[in-house]
């Protein structure tokens, strides 16, 4: 019996526990999932103030209405100022010029995602939610899709790259949070980076998509998300396999009396 005790301790019970542990993980995640996040999203919706002052909001939203005709230019901004009751010269309120319309569109659409989150399926998994939210956000670009390439050009200028990257990161974080992701390990970073890349690709694809209702963009997004999931799952599995092999090796050596 005494000899059996060390064996009991050193054999990899982890192999048997593995299935049990992943099941526990899933259950835990499911419990924490959508209900909690919907409640949080509702709370955020009421709490978060707009980052734009009332004047900026008035002028920029009016300017956005002129973007389909005039594009992301100072002309649209001037028209917006006039519509809001200001003067032409009042566009001095926006030191970045036409870029402020792009920024306004990005920020307001990102904040509007929280409203959409409450209409997500109650027990859908995270991947489905991400797809639904990302599609909703892409469809918000519909009225200005034919002008979005101008916006991308503005976003790519050296002066505005920090802002555009920050907005992309914030959007990616918002999508994952509202979809119900609760990872707080280093996967937090990899998930967001991957989603940001997928979303940016889909947005770029959309600028030259001429299909009805942007159906091709939808397919593109779905394909990319599926690929992303596969890669993630694959990497996870490889990691777990390596861990188990290493664990087995260490346990085996210990059972032979090696002091490690």
């Amino acid at each position: 019996m005494a000899a059996a005790v060390p064996l009991l301790h050193t054999r990899s019970y982890s192999l048997n526990l593995f299935g049990l542990i992943s099941r526990i993980q899933e259950l835990d995640r499911g419990l924490m999932n959508n209900d909690y996040h919907k409640a949080t999203a509702r709370r955020l919706e009421h709490e978060a103030p707009s980052p734009f002052s009332p004047t900026e909001d008035a002028i920029l939203s009016a300017a956005l209405a002129h973007v389909p005709t005039h594009g992301f230019t100072t002309t649209a901004l001037t028209h917006g100022a006039r519509d809001a009751g200001y003067l032409d010269i009042s566009t001095n309120l926006f030191p970045t010029g036409a870029f402020s319309i792009v920024n306004f569109h990005l920020v307001t659409q990102r904040l509007a995602l929280a409203k959409h989150a409450s209409s997500l399926q109650p027990h859908a998994d995270i991947a489905t939610n991400i797809r639904s939210l990302a599609l909703h956000r892409l469809h918000a670009n519909k009225p200005i899709a034919h002008r979005w390439q101008e916006a991308l050009a503005l976003l790519s200028t050296a002066r505005h790259i920090p802002t555009s990257l920050r907005e992309l990161a914030l959007l990616s974080d918002e999508l994952l949070f509202l979809a119900g992701s609760t990872t707080v390990t280093s996967a937090w970073y990899t998930d967001r980076a991957a989603l940001a890349a997928i979303y940016a690709g889909a947005e770029l694809f959309m600028t030259q998509d001429r299909s009805k209702g942007f159906a091709e963009t939808e397919e593109f997004l779905t394909r990319r998300l599926e690929e992303g999931e596969k890669v993630r799952g694959g990497l996870d599995m490889v990691g777990k396999w390596v861990g188990m092999q290493a664990g087995g090796l260490v346990d085996g050596l210990r059972s032979k009396g090696v002091w490690i």
């Binding site: 049990l20 526990i24 835990d28 609760t182």
Partner: protein
């Protein structure tokens, strides 16, 4: 449960949530649900008896106005909770990797190690939930701290019981002091809010009491480690100083990165 604890950190995430499902694997010792008091060799700078406990922590008052946290307060919490999560991650990994060599050499320490591990695992899951709930980003140094803590735990475990306990003492001293500082700042906020006649929110109250509880448990571990011969480790001064400065550096980095 012994085997589950000796499993590698890759399984860490699930295991660090103490769930009733795994209890059947722990036949021979009890997991204490309440704190067991040990005679402290070192005492914490603010013992629970002498700590100020403002009235607002105990009672509700609904006729006061409620203000959301300011930007600096919010940033403080972001940084603080991020560091706390990183600290608990490191603590759980240290215990995970210290336990096999220590319990092999000193079977009587098994219950102590497991109890400390379970408490740390509980803290870790608490902070994981807080981070997810408040949308705080975890530290980018997560894999680095995981590796460092694993190596530290394994190394000190192989060096012997005294070294392992010295490592625990050093880590818990730093972490305990860190939590103490956070509790002090939060109590300062509570006092400020009370002075201004604002209502102290439920979340702040809960956070203060959670941090206090965790701090007390960490300081308990410190006392237990000292009781088990931490001071008798052969390169005690060196170990202590190196590990404490490593912890300080890790805290500083995690606050920013």
């Amino acid at each position: 449960m012994n085997v589950a604890i000796t499993s590698r950190s890759f399984f860490g995430q699930a295991l660090h949530r103490p769930t009733p499902f795994l209890d059947f694997l722990l036949p021979s010792f009890t997991i204490p649900s309440s704190r067991t008091r040990y005679a402290p060799i070192t005492s914490s700078s603010a013992s629970p008896n002498t700590e100020p406990s403002p009235s607002s922590l105990k009672s509700f008052s609904s006729n006061k106005r409620r203000k959301p946290l300011s930007k600096t307060q919010r940033e403080f919490l972001d940084r603080g909770l991020r560091v706390n999560q990183a600290g608990e991650l490191a603590a759980t990994l240290i215990y995970t990797h210290q336990t096999p060599p220590i319990t092999r050499a000193h079977p009587h320490l098994r219950s102590l190690m497991h109890r400390m591990y379970f408490q740390e695992a509980g803290h870790f899951s608490t902070f994981n939930e807080m981070l997810a709930k408040h949308r705080i980003r975890p530290t980018a140094m997560y894999p680095v701290w995981s590796a460092a803590a694993s190596v530290l735990g394994w190394g000190t475990g192989l060096m012997g019981r005294e070294a392992a306990m010295a490592c625990t003492e050093a880590v818990e001293t730093e972490i305990g002091g860190h939590y103490n500082g956070q509790v002090r700042v939060l109590l300062g906020w509570v006092k400020e809010m009370e002075d201004k006649g604002e209502e102290v929110g439920e979340e702040v109250r809960e956070l203060v009491s959670t941090l206090k509880r965790i701090r007390d448990e960490e300081l308990e571990h410190l006392d237990e480690a000292v009781g088990e011969g931490a001071r008798e480790a052969k390169p005690y001064e060196l170990l202590n100083r190196v590990i404490r400065s490593g912890c300080k550096g890790a805290i500083w980095i995690s606050e920013r990165v």
